[in-house]
Symmetry: C2
Subunit: 409 residues, 2 copies
């Protein structure tokens, strides 16, 4: 064991360097991915325990991929094990909300250069409330996915390759100066990413002007486009800090339909589970709190690396999306320093006079202080679809269980 | 006189709608511009009283335009009246630092649609400290100006025309959510402007790929590109509120080599002068405070319309450029509400829970409270060139003089 395993994990979180190198179908690029596999968010569960929107998303994904002809067919094949379900994190992936991946879906390939590991995330579906990752499946959802996969992803992939890869850390660092916290607000990062691709997009336009239209339209209209890159980068960063013997640093926070779970650097592949998170939500017009439904979510990988709820002070405009006030965001952000190993050496908060974001959640500090991690999150509804956004508090039980396991180890 | 002339001026400041419609040489588009004319910043002065960097900028401009072959030739022709000097504001223009305009210089044409007036501003020269508007003139300065005028301005002009004009207010409103205050920080606005032009730039690239290179390079590397658009928009907005009988609202703040001056809505074309402003500067490495030199500056037109120093709370990252702390910026910003007519109905501050920026400086309130307007500014050096940036306080004498004139009227 190193002298200070938590500091070692923190140093790896800060020393990581995520670079977008490619975009390819999951089945081609994610190690171990097979055609019969569907990934989904959360700690591992047997198929029969997936419920609600998360179950619907998996059933939809099976139909999207052509693994099943109908919902009933998908139910039967999943029950029979002809279609397999596994957690995203077991495959280097990270899922937004239900987080379903199938073999044909294009994924961002993000290499963590200093440590040699790779993180993956699939594409944003667009701004419509009804999306596959929010448990919705119909022809409109299918058409939107096909549009992104056929008309956007190949052009972005081409542009990324022509650019020789895109370094994500400089974009993320700058975005924090431009009002993003890189979980629920990615407006500036999306523009910076577009700017990084621009010379290549102009080259493509010079060859075939119409070919870039769908990509430029999506980049201009979807301020959340970069979220999937922020997630892939955060996954690459967090995995770089995983597996340090004795370290109490959290390397994944996940939401599943049964509850919350965490993974810890020094505790291998074990998941420490708890009940559902608490949430303070701002709901879209026409929706009420009793509709709120948990259908998965791993975008809180961003909080794991010192972003999202750990960088709320960077993003005052977020209050328009998820409620609250700027003052409350700064106060919540400041409280996170009490449960973290240190202050990020790259990601800094201009409103706190460029103090580094609180980074490296220490499960022992969470237990000792009683302060639970703050997570920015989109909120799903019981009938599927996004119904709002809000601030989520991870449950204490996960941290208590992990701290006990560390003591026992 | 209207029942509440200050409210009427405020309503015009908020109700203005600046739209970039064209980019053309000043001599073609600015009413009354003649080939022998050089515009410069500040209240009107006879030629012999222009000194230091502002004088050097005018002499350089004469040579740039080919009105004089050498510095001595320019001196002689200016002394003889063969080359004329006039203040920018008298021609619907607004000058950055020395603010020199000549007939061939391309200018942004910004129409204030509801009120029918037009504001102009010429192009940013780029990030080099030595620039014509900072009183420098040599072959490198000339080449950079020619590069902007020949390779950037015509492409931006083409793109603006193909786009059918660009509405600036939505860009400015959004930029405040993205960390700009639109005077000394224009990073987000520059990206939003680039995005607005993108379909047209792609069209141009499809016709001639290399033609857009210089423009894309400048937009990507010059975070201050949008400043000149912010200034042109602010000029159009401020002029829309000028000339309201009885109004104490400031419609221009200007710096000249002899001192500060203001213009007031209800006091026609009179300028109320005072000494030089106070400044708290952060200087570039290798420079000292005794080098600070006043060579003009009208970019504080942005403060006149509720931006810049009146929106510092939007731009915490500005501390990296001009010093100070986020807390000090918020405090300074809050103090400006005490000297303004109202809170802007479009420009809002996310860190103050979307409170509208303090807008419409009331000279009587400045005198009554003793609170002087805060201005973000670039700082020039005695040998020419930019040597830093800082926060400037307009001198009280201008406001006292204007308040007395209002009482006398």
């Amino acid at each position: 064991m190193t002298a200070d395993p938590d500091r070692a994990a923190f140093d790896r979180l800060c020393g990581s360097d995520p670079v977008l190198t490619d975009i390819r179908p999951a089945g081609e690029v994610v190690p171990g991915f097979t055609r019969d596999l569907i990934l989904t968010s959360g700690a591992p569960l047997p198929w029969e325990r997936y419920v609600g929107g998360q179950r619907e998303a998996i059933l939809g994904a099976a139909q999207f991929e052509g693994l099943a002809a109908t919902r009933d067919d998908a139910e039967a094949k999943l029950a029979a094990g002809e279609i397999r379900v596994a957690p995203c994190h077991a495959y280097g992936c990270v899922g937004s909300v239900a987080g379903v991946y199938t073999a044909s879906m294009p994924v961002f390939v993000v290499e963590n250069r200093p440590f040699g590991n790779v993180g993956f995330c699939n594409f944003y579906e667009g701004d419509a409330p009804r999306r596959l990752n929010y448990g919705c499946w119909d022809d409109i959802v299918r058409e939107r996915l096909e549009h992104v996969h056929e008309r956007v992803a190949p052009v972005v992939a081409d542009a990324v390759r022509r650019s020789g890869g895109i370094e994500l850390k400089p974009i993320m660092r700058r975005a924090l100066n431009l009002g993003d916290e890189l979980h629920s607000r990615n407006t500036a990062a999306t523009m910076l990413f577009e700017r990084a691709l621009l010379p290549a997009l102009l080259d493509i336009a010079a060859e075939d002007r119409r070919r870039v239209d769908a990509t430029v339209d999506m980049l201009a209209s979807s301020d959340y486009f970069f979220l999937r890159l922020s997630m892939a980068a955060a996954k690459a960063i967090a995995d770089g800090a995983h597996g340090i013997d004795g370290s109490a640093v959290v390397t994944a926070l996940v939401i599943g339909c049964e509850g919350f779970a965490i993974r810890v650097s020094g505790l291998g592949d074990r998941w420490f589970t708890g009940p559902h998170a608490d949430v303070e939500a701002k709901l879209f017009d026409g929706h009420t709190a009793d509709e709120i439904s948990w259908m998965g979510g791993e975008s809180c990988i961003t909080e794991t690396v010192g972003l999202g709820g750990f960088a709320q002070a960077a993003a005052p405009a977020l209050q328009g999306y998820q409620g609250g006030s700027a003052t409350a965001m700064v106060e919540r952000n400041l409280a996170m320093y009490d449960i973290c190993v240190g202050e990020n050496t790259t990601f800094r908060l201009p409103y706190l006079d460029y103090r580094g974001t609180p980074t490296g959640i220490d499960v022992r500090k969470v237990v000792a202080t009683g302060i639970r991690p703050v997570i920015d999150a989109g909120i799903g509804g019981r009938d599927g679809g996004q119904i709002g956004a809000g601030v989520v508090r991870a449950p204490m039980a996960c941290f208590t269980a992990a701290a006990e396991a560390l003591d026992a180890a």
